[in-house]
Amino acid sequence: MGILPGEHQVDEQIMEALKLFEIFVICALIALVAVAVICLLLWRRKRRRGARKSREDQGAAKTAVCENTEELSAPDNDFGTIVVEKEIVFVHTDEVIE
């Protein structure tokens, strides 16, 4: 079959358009993946912050119950031959790790 005048030029134009479309699709896919990764990172960060705040709130509640701040100006501690003239203590829990 013979080639009509101008037919070759049309083929080249189609090929060029297809190449441009291919580049566009690849760019769109890359952008989509980047957005998905950013969303995932933001979501994980938000979740970690939420968990940390929850832990802190839990700690606050426990501390408020057992707060014990005291200043001892007349200590009765037995230091042997050492005389304790004055002692000041501030602790904020009754618990101690044994």
Binding site: R55, D57, A60, K62, P75, K86, E87, V89, V96, I97
Partner: protein, 256 residues
């Protein structure tokens, strides 16, 4: 020679809990008067920081009651204090780590401990709480074990940049987190008429060295009520300037 002592602490404006623990006592011994002080800053972002700080403070109190008497009967050697205080840190570090593992939580604390005799001071430090000596100038006696302090030492940051660096609260060392804790010791001669100050990082972030010297000018510290009033003023100033952390300070004035 005599000593005036004072201690103050405040939860600050943002935190619901105060995780700091403090202990200071003035003792009369056969070698004259002494002051023993410990300040622990429970870790802010961690659970039960106040438990870690209280545990360590109580361990040092127990040491004072059980070991200081024997120690002060002869001249106190730097090496003896170092060995005994390091032993406290290693034992308490193991205990706190084990507690954290058992309960599935993270907890830790910084510590600055000081024994001040008429002749010498003995200081132990882990983390970013500090000890200062105030005369007509402010002298920092301890070095922070933090990322920014290391960067300053390496020449990668200036002190001014370090104060504003976002990593200024990141510790290289603290008690209760890692097994290989490395306490640092500092020794020196007690200066007559000086004011010695132990403080948590929350007490010093918003206050300049010049303000510390102005507020605690040794000649004006004539009584324990004055020391305490100045500390309360500085705590209020910190809160005005939006300090977010717990705020704690111990002050000792040497009187000749």
């Amino acid at each position: 020679m005599d000593f005036l002592i004072s201690a103050s602490t405040d939860a600050g404006t943002r935190k619901a809990t105060n995780q700091d623990s403090l202990f200071v006592s003035r003792l009369l011994t056969c070698r004259g008067k002494m002051v023993f002080a410990v300040l622990c800053d429970g870790m802010g972002g961690m659970e039960k920081g106040e438990l870690a700080s209280a545990t360590l403070v109580k361990a040092f109190c127990t040491w004072a009651k059980e070991r200081l008497q024997t120690l002060q009967e002869r001249e106190i050697a730097d090496a003896d204090i170092r060995a005994q205080w390091e032993d406290i840190i290693f034992r308490q570090n193991e205990k706190i780590i084990a507690y954290g593992v058992q309960n599935g939580i993270l907890l830790g604390t910084t510590v600055t401990a000081m024994l001040l005799t008429e002749k010498r001071y003995y200081i132990l430090n882990v983390g970013d709480s500090r000890a200062y000596e105030i005369t007509d100038a402010l002298a920092q006696l301890t070095q922070d074990q933090t990322v920014v302090a290391r960067e300053v030492a390496l020449g990668n940051l200036t002190s001014e940049e370090a104060e504003k660096d976002s990593r200024r609260n990141v510790l290289l060392q603290c008690v209760g987190i890692k097994e290989d804790v490395c306490p640092e010791m500092y020794f020196g001669d007690t200066k007559p008429d000086a004011v010695y100050m132990l403080c948590s990082d929350g007490f010093r972030h918003e206050i300049s060295p010049q303000e510390f010297v102005a507020y605690y000018e040794p000649a004006c510290m004539t009584g324990e009520d004055v020391l305490r009033a100045q500390s309360e003023h500085l705590i209020a100033l910190n809160k005005q300037r939006n300090e977010k952390d717990n705020i704690s300070v111990i002050t000792v004035k040497v009187c000749c």
